[in-house]
Every structure is written in C-alpha cells, then in structure tokens.
Amino acid sequence: MTKLIDFFLKLCQIREKQEKIIIRDSEIGLKRFADHAFQEALFSFLFARELGFDPEKLIKTILVAKIYKSFPKEKEWKEILSCLPPKQKEEFSFLKKQFLDQRAQTSKLAKEIILIEKIISLNKDQAHYYYQENLKKIRNKDLKKVAKALLIFKNSKKIPKNNFERIAKFLIKTSYLETFQRRDWVLRGVKDPETVAQHTFHFMVSSWVLGRRKGFEDLKMILLALVHDLCEVYAGDKVPYLDDSLRNITKEMLKKPPRVPRNKKIEWLMKKKQKEWQGIKKITEILPSNIAREIRNLWIEFEERLTKEGRFVYLLDKVENLFQATNYWLKDKNFPIVAWWIHLKEMLDDPLLLKVIAALDRKFQHRLLKLNGPDN
C-alpha cells in the first residue's frame, strides 16, 4: 500500500508538466499533460467504437502514454512501475511498449488522436497551420473528418450537421474544463491550482488501479471517472454548503470542515443536484443520442451511487481530493489540510479506501501529529 501512495503522489506531479509543440519555428507551451489526457480520453471514448476499436485499450494506451511522457527517463519510469502491483506493472509496461511500437493499430490511432486533440488548444491560425502540417500523419479518414470539424467549430456558433461535427463541438465545449480551476483550491489561495480536467486525469488512473483491487471492470471504473465532472461546464464547481456567490467566506471557515444545520445541508444538496443534472443534460444534448444517453447513465450511476462501482468511485473522488490537498500541504505548510482528514473520517466506509488513507497517514504521521498543537 505504501508504494501505491507514492504512485498517487507522483501522479500529482504530472500536473505540473507541460507539452510543447513547434509552430512556424517557434515553440509553443501547450496545455499540461494531464489536461490533454482528459480531452484525449474523452475523444477516445467517443470514437473508439465508431472506428471499430476497443475503447478500453485505446483509453488505457492514452493514459499510460501521458504518464510515460511525463517521466520519460528510464530511471523515472522504472520508479513509477515499481510502485504498482505486479499485474498492473506488466500492463503499464506492455501499453508503453505498444504505444512506442509503430505496428500496433491501437497505438497508431492513439497517436493520431493525440495529434488532433491539440487543435482544440491552439488559436485559430495556429490550428489551421498545425492541421496542414500534420495532415499527412493522420491516416484514419474519420479522424480527418473530426479534425476538419474541430477547425470549423473553433470560435464558431455554427450548428453541427452530422455526428462528427456534433462530437467536435462537444469536445470544444468540454475543453473549458481544462482551464476551469477547482473552487476548493482557489478559495484556499493555492497558486496555479488544479483544473477539473487535471483532476479527472488523476481520478481515471486511480479508479483503474484501485478498482482492479476491488475486482471491478477497468473500463467501467475509468469511464465513471471520465464523465463525473462534465456537468461542471454549465453547473460550475460547488463547494460544500456555500452558495454560488462564495461571498462572506473567512480564512478561519476554510480551516475546518463546514458545519451547517441538517435542513441547510439538504437544501444545498438538492440545489446542487438540480443544477448538475441540468448541466449534464445540456452538455450532452449536442451529442448523438446513444452516446448522450450512455454518458448520462454513467453520470447518474456515479452521482447517485446506484451500483457498488458507483459507490466506490464516488468515495474515491473524495480520497483523490485528499491526495491533491496533501500535495499542496507538502509545498505550503499553512495549507489547511486538517479539514480534509476530518471530513474523510466521516465520509469513508470502504475498507480498501480506509486502508489507503491509513497508509497516507502513516507516511506523514510525524508531520500530521504536529498539526494537533501542543495540547494534544
């Protein structure tokens, strides 16, 4: 378990690594690896079946490729692998090899998706130039159509005419989550806080790794994580029991878990559910109906914890937040980490997740004990 803790903390470091591309002889620092990974996983999910590929293989290849690209030195990559259980270590090695292998069909498609997805982040001129430059590398005819549609829908309110255009427009709309910084961190004054897309990337990997230990299907775990925050494009990010104006908040309030009367909890929760449900409906309405329905079903399964998988991933989302909070606390000792620990002791009831936070507790026990003050 200690090794897995190191793996999750290393994943937090990927957030800081940025992808760069060359456009007209100048280097452009593009989005962070984790932001790209979110969009590419979404891209893969939407297209894999249309193109006759296995979505599980495709998304996993993308996720492992991002981790590998963030830690490309042999020593770093070996360190990452050493944190994983033997079977997943083998799987990560295999997917990395396959990604580098030009003959593997899934890898070819993954590489083409990685190329095309960048169009979303570039400005209009750069995107056109980049598309022309890379057109030859894209063999898949359908992906070419998507790339063209992405160019059309950049900065355009045009109504999509076919499924490729619908998906392209959806991808452009969801790219908002790559710049949308999570409110919990913004309120606590974190410099350069995590975006919703970066959180989703970590969450997909941890759901895959820990879901396996629970005996759940890998793809189901990854997809529940992938879609869980899509509603935030329209609904925003809700901070427990605070209204959307986020006014009248003091630093003292943020140091402790929020405590409000039960009727206020329920009122806040109902409003949140309503707004998020409207959000997921609105963001998916642009998609072909079968895909829209699949995303909404996954989202409800997670949000309402309708299945054992949904319940597990819902709680894991809270653990993910503790890892990110720990990452910030390790950089800034004034970060109010105590609130997350107390909150999780009330939230978690899954034995595996309780083991995970117990291992995290042991790792930082010495430092955490100091937070209790001299009286304890």
Binding site: R49, E50, P240, K256, R259, P261, R262, K265, I266, L269, P288, S289, N290, I291, R293, E294, N297, E301, L306, T307, R311, I337, V338, W341, I342, K345, E346, M347, L348, D349, L354, A358, D361, F364, Q365, L368, L369, L371, N372, N376
Partner: protein, 158 residues
C-alpha cells in the same frame, strides 16, 4: 449454503427504495414499449441498439439489487426507552466538534449520504460513535485528532 446478506434500513430508507423500485419498473416498461429501436435497426451491432441494451440491462440490474435488499431487510426500530441515551444504528446524534455543532444519523452503507448528514456505521466516525452515550467525548483515532462531544441522541419513533 451461504447465508443471505441481511440489510438494516431506516423507515425512510425503506420507503425511498420502494419508491425507486416502482419508478424503475415503470421505466423498464417504457423502454420495452417505446424506446425499442425498429426491428430493422436490430440487425448487426449498431450503436443505438447497444446503448438500448445497456439501458435496459442497467435498469434490470438495479431492479434486481433493490428487490434483493427489500426481500432481506429489517427496518430499524428505536431501542427501548431506557437505552435511548446510547447511540445505536438509526440514531440521530447531535455533536460538538471543535466548538461547532453538527448532526449525524448513523445508517448502514447503502443509506449513507454524508453530505446530507447520514453517515455510515462503518466509517471511522460512525464506528466510534456507536455504543457511546450523551455527554461522552469520542476521539477518532488517527494522526489528525478529532473530538466529538455527544450532546443529544434522538430516535424516530413513528
């Protein structure tokens, strides 16, 4: 033969699941009658058909799950009057934590919704509160210390 799992539910939890079951059965009927794709669409694994199957499969699985819970459940009854100063499953506990007040109802994992104030009896705080009585200070063990002082315990009697 392995014993079937016994589920303990509050009265509200039982009613909520019963309502969900009714709705799911209606939904299943609608899917079967109205949303089924045309027969012509069912030839070959087209995307619309696969999603239709997934929807129906999902609804059916959820129906099965709820039926199994309701078949093997016991509705929690409040303890006898002389034991109501102690936290049992189903109790609503008013606590003071670091100068702040809060309130939790202790339920089983299937009913837990901590954001709505219903915490699981298998969570560290739920576990620590069970069996304790009014006035007691409960400390949840971990490096970050949290102390819960029990101010009031209530049970729904109707």
């Amino acid at each position: 033969m392995a014993a079937e799992t016994k589920y303990y539910l509050t009265k509200e939890g039982f009613e909520k699941l019963s309502r969900e079951l009714e709705k799911l059965k209606e939904q299943k009927k609608i899917i079967m009658e109205e949303e089924a794709p045309d027969i012509a669409d069912l030839h070959g694994p087209d995307a619309e058909y696969l999603t239709f199957q997934e929807d129906l499969g999902f609804v059916e699985r959820r129906i099965e799950e709820i039926e199994a819970i309701l078949k093997n459940c016991e509705i929690l009854k409040p303890p006898p009057k002389h034991k109501r100063h102690i936290v049992h499953l189903g109790a609503t506990v008013e606590v003071e934590i670091d100068g702040q007040k809060d309130e939790f109802t202790i339920v089983t994992p299937i009913e837990a919704d901590p954001m709505a104030g219903r915490i699981s009896h298998e969570s560290p705080v739920g576990k620590a509160l069970l069996g304790r009585s009014i006035g007691e200070k409960v400390i949840v063990q971990s490096s970050v210390r949290a102390e819960y002082k029990i101010k009031k315990i209530t049970y729904k009697t109707k």
